[in-house]
């Protein structure tokens, strides 16, 4: 495969939206780890955000159908666990997209260590920006999110947990 063709394919794979949060791509999210071109064909390597993330099957299917449409018959989608996924792989641009979408983005993982020793952290409301918010539940609508509520605008919101 020519280099221009490879680059085009990588760009197309990177642009696949996350099935759960369609405003960010699997590349923004850090789920897409690598694309390898070998004699046996194309190998796409992905990693789950959480080990039980039910979106992984959908992501693998989306990758497979994109590759098929691009006329690639020989491909493999492999899932790896190591290095374990971290929210530090989210770019600043991706975090901003999350905030606009109504999900409070994760801080740097070192910040979240505070909560593990029982200290509260400040998460700004993605709607009104207030820092007067409280955690309702450590576990939210999906494994990767916690549920918060803003004490000023009273809206509940999801916070992308740091991992």
């Amino acid at each position: 495969m020519e280099k221009a063709e490879r680059d085009k394919l990588i760009a197309a794979l990177s642009a696949i939206p996350d099935p759960e949060i369609p405003v960010i791509t699997i590349s923004d999210l850090g789920v897409l780890r690598d694309v390898k071109f070998t004699k046996e064909g194309v190998e796409v390597i992905i990693t789950p955000t959480y080990s039980g993330c039910p979106a992984m099957k959908q992501i693998a299917d989306d990758i497979a159908s994109l590759l098929k449409q691009a006329g690639i018959a020989q491909y493999k989608v492999n899932m790896v666990y190591d290095p374990p996924w971290t929210t530090d792989w989210l770019s600043d641009a991706a975090k901003e997209k999350l905030r606009v979408y109504g999900i409070a983005p994760p801080e740097h993982s070192s910040v979240d260590k505070r909560t593990l020793i029982g200290k509260d952290k400040i998460i700004a409301c993605p709607r009104c920006g207030s820092e007067k918010t409280k955690m309702i539940s450590q576990f939210g609508s999906t494994a990767c999110k916690a549920l918060f509520q803003c004490s000023d605008c009273h809206e509940p919101f999801d916070h992308f947990k740091c991992l």
Partner: protein
């Protein structure tokens, strides 16, 4: 390596995660309030992800072409090596959360040790799991605190649960020739070392919550040889029914 040693070890870890998932899932839609319902479902999902990874790897190690689904749905009770604790019925909410606390405190330490295993696949799964288990310990220990420092009723329920569950904790640290061989190869970890760490975390939490450490010395065992309580058979009958009755069924 003796044939099947790593396979057996992976089944022990994978089956524990799988059976715990099945039990926790019984709470789905029955949690005391919505957020707790979600929390338990999320913890179950983490366990399911881990079970999937471990049983998938077990199938690869065995080399007979069995998938994670084959291992989950087409083995009988005596071929399961999950620890007894996870197959016990859920009981009330205090019982479920106390059990999950005892278990996740153990697993957090176990998987932290396994993340430096000489087996790179097992180490990868372990590294992933530790991150999730940290949240499980945090969530379940916060509930133990609420039960212990709550009302007389909540404290009594947590204490009764502790007393009932305690006899199933001895088994967590039992080693057999599978462990011996894998420890020598730096694949598995010494469970005696884990025991003192676990006791430190658990005893401290129990005391902090105003609860009493159970004094019963008798410890139930058997799962290392595939011997289970009467509860596992019923669970498997429910869990395995569909793929056994309709072997061609696809999602």
């Amino acid at each position: 390596m003796k044939q099947g040693t790593l396979f057996k070890y992976l089944l022990r870890l994978g089956d524990t995660a799988l059976i715990n998932t099945q039990r926790l899932s019984e709470w789905t839609g029955h949690g005391p309030f919505l957020e707790e319902d979600l929390a338990l479902t999320n913890i179950a999902l983490d366990n399911l992800g881990r079970a999937n990874a471990l049983l998938n790897y077990a199938g690869t190690v065995e080399g007979k072409g069995r998938t994670e689904d084959d291992l989950a749905f087409h083995r009988d009770e005596r071929d399961f090596y999950n620890i007894l604790l996870v197959e016990l019925p859920n009981g009330d909410y205090a019982n479920t959360l106390t059990k999950q606390f005892l278990l996740s405190a153990y697993e957090e330490i176990l998987y932290r040790k396994l993340s430096t295993s000489a087996d790179p696949v097992l180490a990868g799964i372990a590294k992933k799991s530790v991150k999730e288990l940290t949240y499980h310990v945090r969530h379940t220990s916060s509930w133990l605190k609420r039960f212990g420092n709550g009302t007389d009723e909540s404290r009594a329920k947590a204490q009764t649960s502790l007393n009932e569950l305690w006899r199933y904790t001895g088994e967590l640290f039992e080693q057999n020739d599978v462990d011996a061989e894998l420890i020598q190869k730096n694949i598995a970890t010494e469970l005696h070392t884990i025991k003192s760490e676990w006791e430190k975390v658990v005893l401290e939490a129990i005391t902090e919550c105003g609860l009493e450490v159970p004094s019963n010395a008798f410890m139930q065992r058997g799962s290392r040889e595939g011997k289970h309580t009467e509860h596992l058979g019923f669970m498997l009958a429910e869990m395995q029914f569909l793929p056994r009755a309709y072997p061609d069924a696809k999602w």
